[in-house]
Amino acid sequence: MAHAASHSAAHAAHAAHGDHGHDHGHIVIPQRTLLVVFGILLLGTLATVAAAQIEVWFAATFDVVIPQWVNVAVALSIAAVKSTVVALYFMQLRYDNPFNSLVVVFTLFTLAFFLGFTMLDLGSRKALYDYKGSYVTAGGQGNISVPARPGAPAGAEYETIPAGTSIAQFARITAARQAEQTLANGGTLPAQLAVFCAQEIQRLQADGKPLPPYLVKFEQVREQYAAILAKKMGHGHADSAHAEQGASANHARVRTGLTLPEFSQHSSHSKDSGHSKDAGPAATPAGDNPAAK
């Protein structure tokens, strides 16, 4: 029986993996181990949160610019460690048939190829020929019909965004509309509208433009929203550097190495022309943006 050899070889291979103490060949992981693993996971979670906070604090305190990839790399490495621990112990890969681990490894390879090659394309557009990059109007050119926003004429199911207006800009137009209606009726603005009004005032004043009536009205009742505004806009106000960058900074934010032309372009746009125009030729591929890689 020439093939008997390969037969027993196959079974030996089978016996080789896993522990064949009882008829399942499966190990019972002690409760202690499970607890320790859980502890490690908690620590990992704290570490990634802490890392993010420390970075913000560090950048703010020492006024340094930490490149973006540091943040990404730290967060993702910790996540990778945590998942490995989960896979090895909770999911018992460590004690399991090695083929199961192989399945996971192949899966991760597949994912890596998917992400890697797709990024290769989208990150290298326009490398040789300009026309391969995309020229689009940031956030759309309007002329589309969207579900009705708050404050739309009663009964309207859809509204059409005017030509040349992006969805994001339309959000501001409808916000202004809603704020105007609410203030006219003597109602109370929801938090994000209050913030919007305050920001809008800031933007218009920076441009030296007159305030429309609803913002004037808002100025009169501003006190009412002081708490909200302090919470949502507080930090940004104090930090002149941020204000210069045009960021309204709802939250304290780390100064990253992000210097996308588009970013500053957009900010200046919104400063000097309110929100009537979109940022110019945007969708700049990250080829121009070393920070994003």
């Binding site: 192949f106 090659f117 290769l120 490398a127 969708a283």
Partner: protein, 605 residues
């Protein structure tokens, strides 16, 4: 190889429970039989049901293809004639128009778009992808491995119902008006066409659901290969069919989920406009092409690997020779499966960035290597084999010829600079038909012929089988070869009209499609005749050495084997083993047997 003569695999003396009846035995009443089939977890029945369904879908897709070809018999034109100062505008060359389905140019074009989309979608998602794995694969994998069933029989049944459910959506979308996006669903067209209608969503859902069916089949096969091989069967004692299916299954499991999320995102994009594929919101329409082809390139190997799997069996059995380079053929299946994942960008040469295009072009050439390894090994197996030119063998030879053309033209297309000219022309259409139809479908038909006696216990008529082959072979080349020439001359795909220069090619092609139709009809009636009045098949009519022939009856019993087979020889050891035959002397003696005891493996009954 010690004495294996008289291994008593066939001898048995145990109770004949009802599991010992042939699996096709009907139940007491028609209703009971229907219920039995609808709830069966027997891999053989599920395989047969898949076979019927896939062939039916092939028929539907074929009707669509014939309609496409007929429409292209003449270019669709608007002819303006002025007689006595009176101008009449006429539409010529459109069948849709002349049968009254289309009223004007635009609707004639619309019909054309919908029909070729339907053709592509049916053929890809409902025919080729499930064809070999789900029908022949389901039927044969456990038999070849000496197992009673696949690892998860209930999942297998689930996959069958998921397939039906998905087909329902596909047909539904056609019934409510049809989709005209092409089978590739490219954005932004697919997210905006027919806004407010559900047709496109239905069709996307259909493809999404069918993906699950495909995943379940693949998952089942992988586990079956790992856990249910007969005692004595090591990895390299498996028939090459199993290796091919194993590679296929790996791709199905690893690639199909990506089309799942792609189609889900496409549906989100269409219904909720999340923006990922919409440049107006910062998304990228070409990103969809990446997502789509990340699945769909590997999936072309899901289509061809099973064809190659069948090829290895056909060639070995009908040359009575050990497959040349068994391990090379086995590993090339895995290599194909692996490389398949890194070449998808060759479908986007004209749309992606040039750096990525160059990288993908280079990688594409890699995938030709394992495919060539297989072709060379098959050809080497022919050498000095005792070739038996039965219908399946003709199909094997047909495959070698057609797949080589398809594969080589693939290399032209993989060359970046050449593809910029050939992309979206008929050259591409011809290429993928040479591989999908000339490869997979040809192997599939050959495989159906080879395993027909095993599946249904009846022989088919050899003369009509071979007649059918020649009609299909000639019809196929007549249909698709002219398309290569048109393509090179610049005939774009997906157009209902063309300039006169292409008239002759289109007409040849359309006539070819009729010859093809004739060939398929011959096969169809041959099979029907065989079921009704064919002679009873012996357990091992081809004298093959794999377990489904040596150890199982034709058709097999419900539990496949009376005794669990013990593997005592390799699947292709024709050099020193001869299977027991119904007619002694029908098969040549093994060369090495001269002057020695002939090793005879008994048949299952």
């Amino acid at each position: 190889m010690a004495s294996i003569s008289g291994t008593n695999v066939g001898a048995h003396g145990h109770d004949h429970a009802h599991h010992d009846e042939p699996y096709l035995t009907p139940k007491s009443s028609l209703w009971a039989t229907i219920i039995d089939w609808a709830t069966t977890i027997d891999h053989k029945k599920i395989g047969v049901m898949y076979l019927v369904a896939v062939l039916f879908m092939f028929f539907l897709g074929g009707v669509a293809a014939l309609a496409v070809r007929v429409e292209l018999l003449e270019p669709t034109r608007t002819v303006t004639t002025t007689v006595n100062g009176e101008t009449t505008v006429q539409i010529t060359g459109s069948v849709m128009h002349s049968v009254g389905m289309a009223t004007d140019m635009a609707s004639a074009g619309d019909w054309y778009n919908k029909i070729f989309t339907l053709h592509g979608l049916i053929m890809v998602f409902l025919v080729i992808v499930p064809s070999i794995p789900a029908s022949l694969g389901n039927f044969l994998m456990p038999l070849m491995l000496g197992a009673k069933d696949v690892a998860f029989p209930k999942l297998n049944l689930a996959s069958w119902y998921i397939y039906l459910f998905g087909s329902f959506f596909a047909i539904a979308s056609a019934v409510v008006g049809g989709v005209d996006t092409g089978w590739t669903f490219y954005t932004p067209y697919s997210t905006i066409t027919d806004a407010g209608h559900w047709k496109v969503v239905f069709m996307i859902l259909a493809a999404f659901i069918l993906g699950f069916s495909s995943i379940l089949t693949g998952l089942n096969f992988i586990v079956t290969v790992h856990k249910l091989r007969a005692p004595g069967m090591g990895w390299f004692d498996m028939p090459l069919f199993v290796w091919g299916m194993y590679g296929t299954s790996l791709i199905q499991v690893l690639a199909t989920p990506v089309i799942g999320i792609t189609l889900l995102l496409l549906i989100f994009e269409r219904l909720f406009h999340i923006g990922i594929f919409d440049p107006r919101m910062g998304g990228d329409p070409v990103l969809f092409q990446h997502f789509f082809w990340f699945y769909s390139h590997p999936v072309v190997y899901v289509m061809i690997l099973p064809g190659m799997a069948i090829m290895s069996e056909l060639i070995a059995v009908f040359c009575r020779k050990k497959v040349f380079g068994y391990r090379a053929v086995a590993f090339s299946s895995l290599a194909i499966a692996a490389i398949a994942f890194v070449v998808w960008g060759h479908h986007l040469f004209t749309s992606q960035g040039e750096v990525a295009a160059a990288v993908f072009s280079a990688l594409t050439f890699l995938v030709a290597l394992p495919s060539a390894v297989k072709v060379f090994n098959w050809v080497a197996t022919l050498y000095k084999g005792s070739i038996d030119l039965k219908t399946p063998m003709w199909y094997a030879l047909g495959f070698l010829f057609l797949f080589s053309i398809g594969g080589l033209t693939g290399l032209f297309l993989g060359a970046l600079s050449v593809d910029l000219h050939l992309h979206d022309t008929y050259f591409v259409v011809a290429h993928f038909h040479y591989v999908m139809m000339g490869g997979t479908i040809i192997a599939f038909i050959g495989g159906i012929h080879m395993w027909w006696p095993k599946m249904f216990g009846k022989m088919y008529n050899e003369f009509w089988g071979q007649t059918g082959f020649w009609l299909v072979f000639i019809g196929f080349n007549l249909t698709f070869f002219p398309q290569f020439i048109m393509g090179v001359h610049g005939m774009p795909r997906r157009y209902a009209s063309y300039v006169d220069e292409f008239l002759i090619y289109h007409q040849l092609s359309t006539v070819g499609s009729w010859v093809l139709l004739l060939g398929f009809l011959v096969h169809f009636f041959n099979f029907v005749h065989s079921l009704a009045a064919g002679p009873k098949a012996p357990p091992n009519p081809w004298g093959a050495l794999t377990l489904e022939w040596t150890d199982a009856a034709s058709p097999p019993i419900t539990h496949n084997f009376h005794h669990e087979p013990v593997v005592t020889h390799g699947p292709y050891d024709y050099d020193d083993v001869v299977p027991a035959q119904t007619k002694p002397g029908e098969f040549p003696l093994p060369p090495k047997a001269e002057g020695r005891t002939v090793h005879v493996v008994k048949a299952g009954h």
